[in-house]
């Protein structure tokens, strides 16, 4: 153990790992927000609730239907994504011609409804969700102990983030999406079904949030408020990174998680506020965000 500013390397790497895990969730959530915002021009305030729904879906699948973690990883995003598609078709699609503020208010209301309903049903104490057997235990890396599940979360989120980036930047479907983001009317004139693309994009973004929720379920307790606080941090992440670029969302998500982890080591009192402080500094120095395009 090398003493480093009075802090053991063990603790330092432990917090860095935690930070990286938080960063994985920030990255996945801000990625979904950015994708949705790009095409729908709506800040999806329900995103936190949908992340929470993902965790709940996994919990329900296990406790009511006996369906385990690996299937939940596939099914929960599909189920929650499908509810997102319904929401988009029934409610959100009515707002596209209005001021963007209304989209924020509507999705805020939806988040209140979802959180309230689940609070009524399951209380606020939170329920444990068991780790899959395959990922229990961990390994000693010499300088720190690495639990297998946490390593998996980081790997999985890197894969998901890279996959999303690839889908949007390197495939034909992604090209349609980018075209529609740039100019919806013109894209539609080329015979591409933009309303369908919009609906699917929302469903995809929501599914991404739900996937993050399933990954989070074994780490944090599954409770109705788990999405409410993280979404505000993710908003700050999005303001810092700017929503213009996919890579920007990913990079700022991971790095802010790391910075938060480091703050927990060196100045724990500031760990809850450090991201907001960074946001304030970024606003002063580069108001458009680090990776943002000026509107």
């Amino acid at each position: 153990m090398i003493p480093f500013l009075d802090i053991s390397t063990q603790a330092l790497f432990g917090q860095l790992l935690l930070g990286l895990i938080n960063g994985s969730f920030y990255a996945m959530l801000s990625l979904g927000l950015a994708v949705i915002f790009g095409l729908l021009n709506i800040i999806n305030f329900t995103h936190g609730a949908q992340y929470m729904l993902g965790a709940f879906a996994a919990w329900m699948l296990l406790n009511y239907l006996g369906i385990g973690y690996w299937w939940a990883l596939l099914l929960a995003p599909l189920i929650v994504g499908a509810t997102g598609v319904v929401l988009e078709r029934l409610l959100i699609s009515r707002l596209y011609k209005l001021d963007h503020i209304y989209g924020l208010l509507l999705t805020f209301g939806l988040a209140l409804i979802i959180q309230g309903l689940l609070r009524n049903q399951y209380g606020v104490s939170g329920m444990p969700y068991a780790m899959p057997k395959e990922l229990m235990g961990g390994r000693n890396l010499g300088f720190m102990f690495l639990p297998n599940y946490r390593a998996w979360v980081i790997v999985a989120s890197v894969i998901v983030c890279f996959g999303t980036w690839f889908l949007i930047e390197r495939t034909r479907l992604g090209a349609y999406l980018r075209a529609a983001t740039e100019n919806a009317a013109l894209t539609q004139a080329f015979g591409i079904n933009v309303p369908l693309l919009v609906t699917l994009t929302y469903g995809f973004g929501v599914g991404l949030a739900a996937l993050a929720g399933v990954l989070a379920a074994p780490i944090y307790s599954v409770n109705p408020n788990m999405g409410a606080d993280i979404i505000i941090v993710v908003f700050a992440v999005v303001v810092i990174g700017g929503m213009g670029s996919i890579l920007g969302a990913i990079v700022s998500g991971f790095s802010l998680g790391l910075i938060e982890g480091l703050t927990k080591v060196f100045y724990p009192e500031a760990s809850t506020t450090v991201i907001f402080v960074i946001m304030a500094i970024v606003l002063l120095v580069k108001p458009a965000g680090l990776f943002g395009r000026t509107a």
């Binding site: 011609k97 503020i101 939806l110 409804i113 309903l117 983001t181 409410a228 606080d229 946001m279 304030a280």
Partner: protein
């Protein structure tokens, strides 16, 4: 559908109106007198502490409405100003033993100062970003209040003494406090009315409708927005300070983001950009909270449903619809 689609103008928030003609002024005078009459009669019929709570939240929403309804800026962080003022007033009255008017003054000064910092940062971005930044900074204030010593964490500041106004009039009596709150409320409402209908308010509307044009006419849009933000934060702080005296507690609930949501809900229900909307909205929302309190989280669900319904089908709010039907400004 996209940010780059400039052809379809976004539906403006709040009414678009020029300066006040004389007959409108006369109507307003009557309405203000009617409101004052209602406030005098109300405590004879309804529990006065309830009416005072309604007035505090109405003022809170009016302050928020100044920003959304007249400058088109949706702040999602007004709980920070409301709650911070409640804490400062509570601390000043309880620990420093200041008289209520001084404690309120300190609370307002604190929230206006906070508003200056938050506003200066938030107006650097527009639209939805503005909302996200105010929300994030307010969350930072929440965490500050969670950790700071003087706020007493989860317990909050309890048993705040109401004290004696100017050291003379004892406010521990509900009726004395009621008169004080009612007078301050009416004064604040008239001040807000004056601000909105002043040349300053007209410039604000111009900026809301077409910012580049207002700038090209020589108005410094950023300074106008910042001034409005500070005013709004100050009035929200006044509401928080008064609330601290009425309920005699200041807790984390007051700085929590759900309190910001409450200001938005009250304004939306009553009518964004109307003078009396926030008051009507406050009566409805506070009554609902009071009567549904034993149903726990169903209040949250009900609030969410009202949000959804208002946004989808009732964007003008109650007073907005009334104003359209009666073809007058309210």
């Amino acid at each position: 559908m996209t940010a780059h689609d400039a052809s379809a103008p976004a539906a403006a928030i709040g009414p678009t109106s020029a300066s006040l003609p004389r007959e409108a002024m006369a109507t307003y005078r009557l309405l203000f007198l009617g409101l004052a009459g209602l406030i005098v009669v109300a405590p004879l019929v309804i529990y006065p502490v309830f009416v005072m709570t309604v007035l505090c939240f109405a003022l809170f929403a009016c302050a928020f409405n100044l920003l959304l309804g007249y400058a088109g800026l949706l702040s999602f962080g007004h709980a920070a100003f409301f709650g911070m003022a409640a804490y400062v007033t509570g601390h000043a009255a309880k620990v420093w033993g200041l008289t209520p008017e001084l404690a309120i003054l300190l609370g307002v000064a604190a929230s206006a100062g906070l508003g200056l910092v938050v506003g200066a940062l938030a107006i650097r971005r527009q639209g939805i970003y503005f909302s996200m930044i105010t929300l994030a900074l307010a969350q930072m204030v929440f965490f500050f209040c969670l950790q700071a010593k003087f706020t007493h964490g989860e317990d909050g500041i309890q048993a705040i003494p109401r004290g004696a106004l100017f050291g003379v009039i004892d406010l521990s009596d509900d009726w004395a406090l009621y008169v004080f709150i009612a007078v301050v409320f009416m004064a604040a409402l008239l001040a807000l009315f004056r601000i909105v209908h002043s040349p300053f308010g007209q410039v604000l509307k111009a900026i809301r409708e077409n910012e580049p044009r207002a700038i090209s006419l020589g108005y410094d849009a950023a300074r106008y927005k910042l001034a409005t933000f500070v005013l709004s934060a100050g009035f929200a702080g006044l509401a928080g300070s008064l609330k601290a005296l009425v309920s005699q507690i200041a807790t984390l609930t007051d700085v929590h983001w759900s309190m910001s949501g409450e200001a938005i809900l009250i304004t939306l229900v009553g009518g964004v950009g109307t003078v009396f909307g926030p008051i009507v909205g406050s009566v409805i929302v506070i009554a609902m909270q009071n009567y549904l309190a034993q149903l726990g989280a169903w209040v949250t669900v009900a609030q969410g449903v009202i949000f959804v319904v208002c946004v989808l089908a009732f964007r003008e709010g109650i007073v907005g619809v009334l104003a359209r039907r009666l073809k007058m400004r309210l």
